[in-house]
């Protein structure tokens, strides 16, 4: 709270409006740009002029003729992405799949889910058999997909293998997920290893209705925290990788949200699973 003299950046609304055109074109000199930006951030008035003029700017891009980039740029862009984007967990040795499929996932009692979410009662179905069936469904789905799009299917098969490894890791917290309502028939699991990113995997999930998207949530106590958006493949498969549940997550749930997602759920969950801590 030092009282050092700071020149108050002030600008009248009318002055800001006059600069709207240059501002939306990003053509103000830095000093003026900063003044306008701080005025807009603090001013209670709507300053519609900025949206009106700013809405014109995207059209200007159409004045540039499209030109195919040199062929090698695609590889460069993807290589830069591969270098900078966090890599998923390394692939498993192939022989792990069978042993992990047969590894029992113990049924454990779980804390009651938050009441506000009105979880459907499905009874006690968290069994090794349920998990094993799911794995079979997943691998089967990918066998089919492989014929349609080999590269992508291989990548996703590896992803499924990593997800299954996380599911079968005794150190993982896991949840078996079941759908209801619009997502009836969907099933899947969430698996969060002690270290590294976890997975939320679903099969037989119908496409989200137009204008809506699936959003996953971690629920700790009564508080849902967004786990991210899930897009569903045409084969009904959806996966969220690098999942990092919030501390104390008891439930993993999916809701349908307006496209782009929501800060907090705006509808009842249609896929739910209770998280069981490692034994």
């Amino acid at each position: 709270m030092s009282d050092s003299r700071r020149p108050e950046p002030t600008m009248a609304c009318s002055e800001a409006d006059e600069l709207a055109g240059l501002y939306v074109l990003d053509a103000l000199d830095e000093h003026d740009r900063a003044l306008v930006a701080s005025h807009l951030a603090e001013c209670p008035n709507a300053h519609e002029q900025f949206a009106e003029l700013g809405g014109v700017v995207p059209a200007l891009a159409l004045l540039a003729e499209p030109v195919d980039a040199p062929a090698d740029l695609r590889a460069r862009v993807l290589a830069a992405y591969a270098q900078e984007a966090p890599q998923p967990i390394p692939a498993l040795p192939a022989d792990l799949r069978m042993t992990r499929m047969s590894a029992p996932v113990e049924a454990r009692r779980t804390a009651a889910a938050p009441r506000a979410w009105q979880l459907p009662a499905w009874g006690s179905w968290v069994t090794a058999a349920a998990a094993a069936l799911l794995v079979v469904a997943l691998v089967g789905a990918w066998g089919l997909a492989a014929r349609a799009d080999a590269d992508r299917a291989v990548a996703r098969t590896q992803e499924v293998e990593r997800a299954i490894a996380a599911l079968s890791d005794p150190g993982s917290s896991v949840a078996i997920l079941r759908g209801s309502g619009p997502a009836a028939g969907a099933s899947g699991f969430a698996a969060f290893p002690a270290e590294g990113g976890g997975y939320v995997v679903l099969v037989d999930l119908p496409s989200a209705p137009a204008g809506q998207t699936y959003q996953a949530w971690y629920i700790a106590g009564d508080t849902p925290a967004s786990a991210g958006l899930l897009s569903v493949g045409s084969d009904g498969y959806a996966v969220l990788a690098q999942a990092q549940p919030v501390a104390g997550t008891q439930v993993v749930a999916l809701t349908l949200e307006p496209a782009g997602g929501s800060v907090a759920p705006t509808s009842d969950p249609i896929v739910v699973g209770q998280v069981e801590a490692p034994a």
């Binding site: 995207p58 004045l63 980039a69 969220l240």
Partner: protein
């Protein structure tokens, strides 16, 4: 030679049923190189064409496109559908990158070092389009309808990345005139585009 991305009209080889929004979602949801590759194939020609027009330099234009795709990935979680189309959002990102590159090359422009976070915020500064369905011909017609001085001011700002004072210097006009030419030009352009709908 590899991949389907050697043309903008390769719709037969692209999963065209996947929406742009879904690709952005996937990109925001975790490592998804396929989503980025699909977006690349859809938009590389538009992006490169714009970057080339701005930078007038193939190497710089390629850098702009590459940096823009990394920006798309880093900001995918911030993309708000409904505010602007994915195309508009992506084009505004490559526009910013290209302008930034030409300004850095030009010693006259008063530049601040843009931190990645500050850049992300500026990237988000996209206004809802006045005319989502506008095509190039309609925009060109609307531009042609402007007085030449207004059109020049807008083009110097948008395509050459000149700032207000640089435009004033180049056109030998007072700062206030630059301000009004740009504002009146954009207002007329808006009316022209709305009329073309």
């Amino acid at each position: 030679v590899n991949g389907p991305g050697n043309g903008s009209g390769a719709s037969a080889t692209l999963p065209s049923e996947v929406s742009d929004e879904a690709l952005i979602e996937r990109l925001g949801g975790g490592h998804d190189q396929d989503a980025l590759a699909d977006l690349y194939d859809r938009y590389q020609a538009s992006m490169y064409g714009l970057a080339l027009r701005i930078t007038q330099d193939p190497a710089l234009a390629q850098d702009a496109v590459q940096e823009a795709f990394l920006g798309v990935w880093r900001n995918a979680g911030r993309y708000v559908a409904g505010r602007a189309s994915v195309r508009t959002w992506i084009m505004s990102i490559v526009h910013h990158r290209a302008i930034d590159l030409v300004r850095r090359r030009r010693p006259t422009t008063d530049l601040v070092d843009v931190e990645p976070t500050a850049e992300a915020l500026r990237v988000a500064d996209v206004w809802p389009e006045v005319a989502r369905a506008a095509d190039a011909r309609a925009v060109r017609a609307a531009m042609d309808g402007l007085p030449a001085t207004q059109r020049a001011a807008i083009e110097l700002a948008y395509f050459a990345g000149l700032t207000q004072s640089e435009i004033a210097q180049r056109e030998q006009i007072p700062l206030g005139t630059v301000k009004s030419r740009v504002r009146l030009g954009l207002e007329s352009l808006r009316r022209g585009l709305e009329g073309s709908q």
